[in-house]
Amino acid sequence: MWRYIGRKLGIYGITFVVAVTINWMIPRFMPGDPVRSMLSRASVSDPEALERMTAYYNEVFGLDTPLHQQYFAFWAGLFRGDLGVSVWLYPEPVVDIILRHVPFTLGLLLPAIILSWIIGNRLGAFAARSKVLDNTVLPIGYILTATPYMWLALLLAWALGVVGGFFPTAGGYSFALTPSWTWGFFTNLVSHWFLPFLSMFVVALGGWAIGMRNMIIYELEADYSNYLQALGAPRRLIRRYAFRNAMLPQITGLAVQLGTIIAGALLTEVVFNYPGLGTLILNSLNNNDFFLLQGIFLFVVVGVLIANFIIDIVYVLVDPRTRVRMTGGAS
């Protein structure tokens, strides 16, 4: 048990180091002085501010110290929770900006992932029941997974927002409101949340349905299914076993798909100008705010690693095979 978890943690640790190193390397390995090119592209108008910023960033990058010192300084900053100061929103710390946007992204991601996973699995299992169902659900599922997240978002925003007028198509809440714990603000929040959520949910749904359908067909062909059929067990029992066994690889699939779904969330946010990390990425790109961009990158990586670890633990708890192997049962 601990060996397994340790091994997983090891991989995640290495991944984290790799991510941080990539983050550290990129600006230093690009040609030119990163600070000057960043600030010139960011076109700060006030000369006094520019001077202050140049001094600050020069110190942060520490370009005149040896590379390994720069590297360790980078890590040290990281452990202090210091990801630098934003260029775009100077002098606000990157961490604060990110933390302000994270709840919106999580609010989209978590419900979209969990609901699409549950419903997609049901749908896939249902599709494997008959040829007719299979021939309709399967192509629809594949078309959905082939849909770029931002395009479905655009379609929904256009159809249900611009043309239909049922939902707002931009922002996390109306500009006129200030965030507060009131019913009015809450419904406003939900109405802005719904379309981005829906478009993410629908695209992700297709993938889960297909995965489940393929897994369950595989399970229904498995030896234990054949044996039970030969012994006259009803279809219901065999399907129940197959469904349960097909769920297990789908849990792993959740970890594998996480990166894609997060990317989808970022793109969807951009369409709806939703105030999560995706829109923040776009803003930092437009303002050449690489500190912010890299901070977001680290945040997302850490989030993915945590999610992966949670999924690993859940898998161990759910699959008796790994559980038994780990507790080192008899034989």
């Binding site: 594949y142 997974t145 849909t147 395009w151 198509t169 990166g259 776009l282 790109l285």
Partner: protein, 302 residues
């Protein structure tokens, strides 16, 4: 099932010439009757045709301002014009072309890395396998799109090839995993053992014994990687990290959103590029299912 001669699936691959031929003709027989394969392949070919031939019939550049602004589709401008008076059809046709290019390049690079890593890890085993497996897992866990955003953001000159290269470098891990597990199951077969005993070099064994025996599997992996590369490229283009001054379906979506096509109701600006991507990648996936059913007798009947 194992004891009836002449049933599909019982023919041992590569035993006799006659058996091989029979298998091929059987595959063709199923291929010609598989609607998923046929529909998927014809849509892909149709789109490829449009992307290859279409630009030849258009005598102005895709980004030129040639027409009236913001006109809906008409006889003259099949897909209407943008708010700058660019021909959407011209952009679409050129965009399809570059989409095929990115898919082939990006998917191809990912395929090369993924299969090489998978073959070597599965065949060599031991410490090589451990290391490659670790590498695969690390890249697999990293959220590829976000890595790409950071990496591409620092590039001063963004081109299609560089974009494809970066996509290829981040999207290979699952292919490596899949090929590795297939290789593991093949590597213990007699003919591979024989080749190994006769002192053939590793890469010879991989290319002449392992790869041919999982060719259908490799084809399907490439198709999936192609589709993935197209989608990732579209995403990068959409947030403004596309090839500078180029045309692509993702860039069309980007400019449509940037110039408020949504609010202005210029649906002909943002529907075609997305539809093109969805149709292309979707038909490739469906074609893949068709291929799977043709190559894998077990799936022929539900």
């Amino acid at each position: 099932m194992t004891d009836v001669p002449g049933t599909p699936g019982t023919a041992d691959p590569g035993t006799t010439g006659a058996g091989g031929e029979r298998r091929t003709s059987e595959t063709l027989y199923y291929a010609r009757r598989n609607p998923k394969l046929l529909i998927g392949a014809s849509i892909v070919l149709l789109l490829l045709g449009i992307g290859l031939i279409g630009p030849l019939f258009i005598d102005h550049g895709p980004n030129q301002y040639i027409g009236p602004q913001s006109t809906p589709p008409s006889g003259e401008y099949w897909l209407g014009t943008t708010s700058f008076g660019q021909d959407v059809w011209a952009q679409f046709v050129h965009g399809l072309r570059s989409t095929f290019l990115t898919g082939t390049l990006g998917g191809g690079i990912a395929f090369l890395i993924g299969t090489t890593v998978g073959f070597v890890a599965g065949y060599k085993g031991g410490i090589v396998d451990e290391i490659l497996n670790m590498l695969t897992n690390v890249v697999l866990v990293l959220p590829g799109m976000v890595v790409l955003i950071v990496a591409v953001a620092y590039l001063d000159v963004r081109g299609l090839v560089v974009q494809a290269l970066f996509i290829g470098l981040t999207s290979w891990p699952w292919a490596a995993r899949a090929v590795r597990s297939q290789t593991l199951s093949l590597a213990s077969r007699d003919y591979v053992d024989l080749a190994r005993l006769s002192g053939r070099r590793t890469w010879r064994i991989i290319t002449s014994e392992l790869a041919p025996n999982m060719s259908s599997y490799l084809v399907m992996s490439f198709i999936l990687l192609f589709g993935g590369a197209v989608l990732i490229a579209a995403g990068l283009d959409f947030i403004g990290l596309g090839p500078a001054g180029g045309v692509s379906l993702g860039l069309m979506l980007e400019s449509a959103v940037a110039w408020s096509a949504l609010q202005l109701g210029l649906w002909w600006w943002f529907i075609p590029p997305g539809a093109g991507i969805t149709l292309l990648v979707g038909s490739m996936y469906i074609l893949n299912v068709g291929l799977d059913e043709v190559f894998n007798p077990k799936l022929r009947e539900l």
